[in-house]
Symmetry: C2
Subunit: 236 residues, 2 copies
């Protein structure tokens, strides 16, 4: 039946709730640690503690994937690692390009956890011609003009943006135009992308401001803050 799929409500992924998807990597990390310690099985209670979530939530999350547990025993660690990996699409190779090899881009390129889960850095791109050819994390920096060819040749579908904010939209447009359909944005800008392209953002400044908000509240907790510290400056 033709269900109304006009726009994307940002949820509803083939029955797996978005909130669950966001936690699967967390479970996977905890399970991988157990696997390395050769732990055969784990209960929802133990795994939930390791992942820092509620055990009922974890069980419900897993129930979306299927009935992979054994009552009275728990979950088989290896089996669950495989199932979650498969569900997340980590059993295949994901070529990634990083655009903007400055302080942050270089750090990302050097990040070991990058390649550890099927993500392979296909290329490092920068507009600064003087960087071209320079090795960063063992890879040569290529000029941004090679973007389209590199994305096409390597079938890159994921792009990471670590350029200044002013260049982020332009880089996004080029990435999308070249065929990239997932973008991880570190620049502090809102990106416009067509339907079908996913954008996730990492913003240090926003995180700090959220912490500051709560910090401020903690500081003024015992004391009643009078609301009168706003002078009568009325808007025009």
């Amino acid at each position: 039946m033709a269900t109304g799929r006009s726009h994307r409500p940002a949820t509803r992924s083939r029955g797996i709730p978005e909130a669950t998807v966001a936690r699967l990597p967390l479970y996977l990390r905890a399970l991988t640690a157990l696997s390395e310690r050769s732990v055969p099985t784990v209960s929802s209670e133990e795994l939930a503690a390791a992942a820092g979530v509620n055990s009922a939530k974890l069980r419900k999350d897993f129930s979306y994937l299927g009935s992979y547990g054994t009552r009275g025993v728990g979950y088989d660690v290896e089996y669950l690692v495989y199932q979650i990996s498969r569900e997340l699409g980590l059993t295949q190779d994901w070529p990634v390009v990083i655009v903007g090899i400055g302080n942050l881009g270089a750090a990302l390129a050097n990040y070991g956890g990058f390649a550890s889960r099927g993500f392979r850095v296909a290329a490092l791109l920068d507009a600064d011609a003087s960087l071209a050819g320079r090795l960063v994390a063992g890879l040569p920096v290529r000029h941004i003009d090679e973007l389209e060819a590199i994305v096409a040749d390597n079938q890159v579908s994921i792009g990471v943006i670590a350029t200044p904010a002013g260049a982020a939209q332009e880089v996004t447009d080029r990435l999308v135009n070249a065929g990239v359909t997932s973008i991880l944005n570190f620049a502090p800008t809102v990106l416009s992308v067509p339907d079908g392209v996913d954008v996730r953002k990492v913003d240090l400044s926003i995180e700090l401001q959220i912490l500051a908000f709560h910090e401020q509240r903690k500081a003024g907790e015992g004391r009643q803050e009078p609301d009168g510290d706003v002078p009568a400056v009325m808007p025009a």
Copy 2:
């Protein structure tokens, strides 16, 4: 009823919903851009577009702060910048320590947007004695043993962790013990902290995995299946 015994639902901040708090920095950024262009007023529709959110959501968000708009006109940009800054606690100075001055920590120290909103890097700390004294972004790296003294002397309440995962909990414990009550964690680990301490995490690997999940769905959707609900379940 009798079940009203919740410790901390992670929400309920003096009436301002957590989801709203998380968007305030977004609005602030858009408003700051308008302010720099000397735009005097802005409608909820325009500002929402700039911040990438729904206009009704924006208006409701602002309604938690007060009635700062003028019907038929919109919001006074300067006034709103001030109100949001004050609400977020950005009118005061927030000393921050960064622990773990490796690839990422150095990039963070060099990040300009850090100081732009009242966040001041009080110190850079690392366990590697050979780094001590070295200048990063104009600041000398101090040894981790100075942590307690630095936090106390500078009244640091926010700590950023950029150490390897294995050291993150230990660093957290020391930070908390020294008086830090807000932590931004870049290490891929779940941190345990006592009540009253806020932790926010930034995890590149998790973001990529979420993107990969959706990317996988895209790849297997528009191809063969016309409206396929269940695309070929792989047996184990």
